[in-house]
């Protein structure tokens, strides 16, 4: 059995690492160039020397598990390795310009963005792409607003419903609701795919769009996608592609060819930009030709040899204050350029191969097949306990309890980054946990930097700052 021990220094009986405020805090009087009635009296903040700062954050980093620490098979999050050189290119100071600079003085940034727009359009089979949305959910919201604008433009304001399958990511429901739509959830069929009868029943003259992930969150390809697209289009609605699982299809199938009208790309998943502990990511949106004029303002266009920013005729306006998460976009560009056509196809192939190899090694039921880049296993053990016990075997667990249609779901996506040895290690972690007792699962983790954290207490006490802690 492989065991892994995360940094477990223990400072004292109470805590693992003191807070900045417990290390050193200073109060200074505010006595500046402004009149007193505009300023505060004093300010209390931590004040840490550079060496102390280095130790504090190095310590905190050691208590953080990332892809560089080991396998991270978080389903639908595509936690692949983030190539180092992309960090270097994003750090090029020439790209650190202000977003309000005149176009002719920032041709470099615009050229990179234009080229990335073209790359993404080709990869998705889309006509035009905006890079503005700063995350996948922001991409969904952008797509929803484009949907609204499109139907309003065609005088079909009555379309106030968005259909979402029960296996969809939570963001789909939330994004549609934020855009003012009523969300119609449809059940999946017994084989885990879109239930065509349920879709037919849900469709009406009020349908604005169907949001679909393909392969879906069970890892299954929606084989009836052409029929689904026809049904949606016959009803006058639009078909939205959630790009969370695009990794499986790279270079092999394109949402645009399947009949999708709008899609978002999660560059922090598919195109290897680091997840950064929760973000920043980027969620560019691609659309078919009928929707290009509804994209956010501005688009990056090319006029002869010059790159310009231009306003689409029926633009939905803006979804980000400026041009989106620029530093993330550079990394995505570099990654795509490194791979090229063949590398992209190879990425999809390896991601699918890895998931299937891993699935084959597991002594756990995988109810829905054939899966692609991810699968959902069901161990008939409490999924939270299962995940915590996996930590004891030195791997990050899969996404748990999602999708809801699988009991105690373990949604697993190893990505193409893992080699056979690593996949074997991951498989034995799964299988060892299956062999462990309920007590062992409930008592886990034992080797992480903290023991099991009491979630209920956190929600009950609601201590959200060190000021709350001091008030205790």
């Amino acid at each position: 059995m492989t065991r892994f021990e995360q940094a477990r220094y223990i400072q004292d009986e109470e805590r693992y690492e003191p807070l900045l405020s417990e290390k050193d805090s200073t109060t200074v009087d505010v006595d500046g160039p402004l009149p007193d009635d505009l300023t505060r009296d004093d300010l209390t903040m931590p004040e840490i020397s550079e060496p102390e700062l280095a130790r504090h954050y190095t310590r905190l980093s050691e208590m953080t598990y990332g892809v560089d620490n080991g396998p991270y098979p978080l389903g639908s999050c595509t936690m692949k390795y983030n190539p180092s050189f992309t960090e270097d290119v994003a750090a090029d100071p020439s790209g650190f310009v202000h977003p309000d600079r005149p176009d002719e003085t920032v041709q470099g940034n615009l050229e990179l963005m234009y080229t990335l727009q073209r790359y993404l359009a080709k990869i998705g089979g889309m006509e035009a792409v905006t890079l503005q949305p700063p995350a996948g959910a922001a991409g969904e919201f952008t797509g929803i607003m484009i949907t609204r604008a499109y139907h309003e433009y065609h005088g079909e304001d009555q379309r106030d419903e968005v259909i979402v399958p029960d296996t969809a990511h939570g963001t789909n429901f939330a994004s549609a609701a934020m855009g003012g739509y009523e969300v119609i959830e449809i059940p999946s069929s017994d084989d885990g795919r879109v239930h065509l009868d349920a879709l037919e029943d849900a469709l009406s003259e009020n349908t604005a769009a169907l949001m679909l992930t393909n392969p879906n969150t069970l890892g299954l390809f929606e084989k009836d996608i052409v029929e689904v697209a026809d049904m949606i289009h016959d009803a006058g609605a639009l078909l939205y592609y959630d790009g969370a699982n695009l990794n499986a299809l790279l270079g092999r199938a394109r949402p645009g060819d399947m009949g999708f009208d709008i899609m978002h790309y999660n560059v922090h998943k598919t195109f290897a930009t680091p997840h950064g502990g929760g973000g920043p990511g980027a969620g560019p949106v691609g659309v078919c030709s009928d929707l290009a004029e509804f994209l956010p303002n501005p688009q990056v266009c090319k006029d002869g040899d010059e790159y310009t920013t231009c306003e689409p005729e029926h633009t939905i306006g803006k979804v980000h204050g400026f041009q989106g998460n620029w530093l993330v976009l550079i990394k995505a560009f570099a990654y795509i350029a490194r791979l090229g056509d063949e590398g992209l196809r190879d990425t999809g192939a390896k991601a699918v191969l890895n998931a299937n190899y891993l699935g084959e090694q597991l002594d756990i039921d995988i109810p829905f097949r054939p899966f692609h880049h991810e699968f959902v296993a069901s161990g008939d053990r409490d999924a939270t306990d299962f995940a915590k016990r996996m930590l004891d075997y030195g791997v990050h667990p899969p996404t748990t309890k999602f999708p809801h249609i699988v009991k105690d779901a373990l949604m697993t996506e190893p990505t193409e980054s893992e080699n056979r040895h690593s996949l074997d290690r991951l498989a034995s972690a799964f299988n060892d946990v299956m062999g462990d007792s309920d007590e062992e699962l409930a008592g886990a983790p034992n080797y992480a930097s903290a023991g099991r954290v009491d979630q209920t207490k956190a929600a009950k006490d609601l201590i959200l700052s060190w000021q709350d802690l001091d008030a205790e």
Partner: protein, 424 residues
């Protein structure tokens, strides 16, 4: 591996119908690392090297190298949302510290782990207001000097819940209190005020707006940033309910508009707050530990009834901001705030001495930037300055805006003499 799966070819694993398979060429040529580095360097090298006197929501405060080095540690960079608290205690603690430092600056009990940028945070504040306030309507009031870009984003955020956005007037770069009062009615659910404003002025009527919004039971949302808040009156003490803004004035250099939204509000609203929250708990060893909390507000659990659709946020930038704040300490932050006031005032005075330009246009205190009125067409002056390597904002036919942040004293000297030449 194929053998253990029981297939001969990896293609056999793809369950994709023939008619939607893609056999074409994408036409993207693979390049090796050095080639891509050279290509991007050459591409970005086409950007003109200019002295930027630009601000209006995106600023260039120097970020110390140690912030790059520490935030670049790959455990931070390559981890994701802290769904497994036990192996992400470090990042959780860093985010908890971020929340705490911004609580100190705003005086408000709940700070989330970040939004995308200031405009999206304003949009989220508006929808929060509609959930927690009992006004008869859900109209949002914003200042007439708000950047169009920000307003555009807000309009999208409030389109779903059909919240009208209207403007209230400003007077000399501050809230026109009488004008705001006339714009108020029982339908107004949120009033948005900035300090510093888009035009660089410091708002002098925060407390009065607090009283007015109280009278109408509207939410008072203030746009600001951590450096300004180090010096300005504590928002919560003057009736502010929610503070939003660009937190990335610290921790992030000029990065073509990439931002990080600050979102702080009253603890009463905690169950309606968008975004992630880190709370304190205890682990099985009875030690203090951290975890994401109140996740039942969020999209992955609450779906269409979630407080927001936000999932991926700007956590890594929040980490950098926390590092930068801890390194500066209160005196370092105040020093930056002081410089932002003094250097802007100093430049305004020097610009004002130039014939054909009056500065600052507003008789107010300024922070980082100010507006100047020009006799000659502002666009022409900006073009001429551009020829000489200076980038400035053009606001209207006879208005320019200059920001001192990130511009050295030598560069400012050169700017002043160039400005006198091009206006002569």
């Amino acid at each position: 591996m194929l053998e253990s799966i029981g297939v001969d070819d990896v293609e056999a694993l793809f369950d994709i119908p023939e008619k939607v398979r893609y056999d074409g060429e994408l036409g993207i040529e693979a390049r090796d690392e050095p080639t891509i580095k050279a290509e991007i360097a050459s591409m970005l090298g086409r950007n003109e090297d200019m002295v930027e006197l630009l601000g209006r929501g995106h600023y260039d405060h120097y970020v110390p190298s140690v912030v790059d080095q520490l935030s670049g540690r790959s455990e931070f960079l390559t981890s994701y949302t802290q769904y497994q608290a036990e192996v992400t205690q470090g990042f959780l603690q860093a985010l908890f510290e971020f929340q705490s430092m911004l609580r100190e600056l705003t005086g408000l009990g709940v700070v989330n782990c970040s939004m995308y940028d200031a405009p999206s945070a304003i949009g989220e504040a508006a929808t929060l207001a509609s959930r927690v306030r009992e006004t008869s309507g859900n109209r949002v009031l914003v200042p007439d000097i708000l950047q169009d870009k920000r307003r555009d984003v807000i309009e999208n955020y409030v389109a779903g819940p059909e919240m009208p956005v209207d403007t209230y007037p400003t007077e000399d770069g501050n809230v026109d209190l009488d004008g705001l009062r006339s714009a108020m009615d029982e339908d107004v659910v949120m009033v948005y005020v900035e300090s510093p404003t888009a035009r660089g002025t410091i708002e002098e009527h925060v407390a009065e707006v607090g009283e007015l919004t109280d009278e109408f039971d509207a939410m008072f949302t203030l746009g600001s940033d951590p450096i300004a808040l180090a010096m300005l009156e504590e928002p919560a003490a003057h009736g502010v309910d929610t503070v939003v803004g660009e937190a990335d004035v610290l921790g992030l250099p000029t990065s073509y508009g990439m931002g990080t939204g600050l979102f702080a509000t009253k603890k009463d609203y905690v169950r309606q707050v968008p975004g992630r929250l880190v709370g304190v708990s205890e682990d099985s060893n009875e030690k203090r530990s951290f975890t994401l909390t109140l996740q039942t507000r969020e999209q992955h659990i609450r779906r269409e009834r979630a407080t927001s659709n936000i999932c991926t946020n700007q956590a890594w930038v929040a980490l950098r901001i926390a590092m930068h704040m801890a390194l500066l300490g209160p005196s370092g932050m105040l020093e930056l705030a002081t410089e932002s006031v003094e250097r802007a005032a100093d430049l305004a005075e020097r610009v004002d001495e130039i014939d054909g330009i009056e500065a600052p246009v507003h008789d107010r205190h300024h922070f980082r930037e100010f507006v100047a009125r020009t006799e000659a067409p502002a666009g022409q002056i900006a073009d001429d300055l551009g020829e000489e390597g200076f980038a400035v904002h053009v606001l209207g036919e006879n208005e320019l805006q200059f920001c001192v942040t990130g511009v050295s004293d030598d560069e400012l000297d050169e700017f002043v003499s160039t400005l006198s030449e091009v206006t002569a």
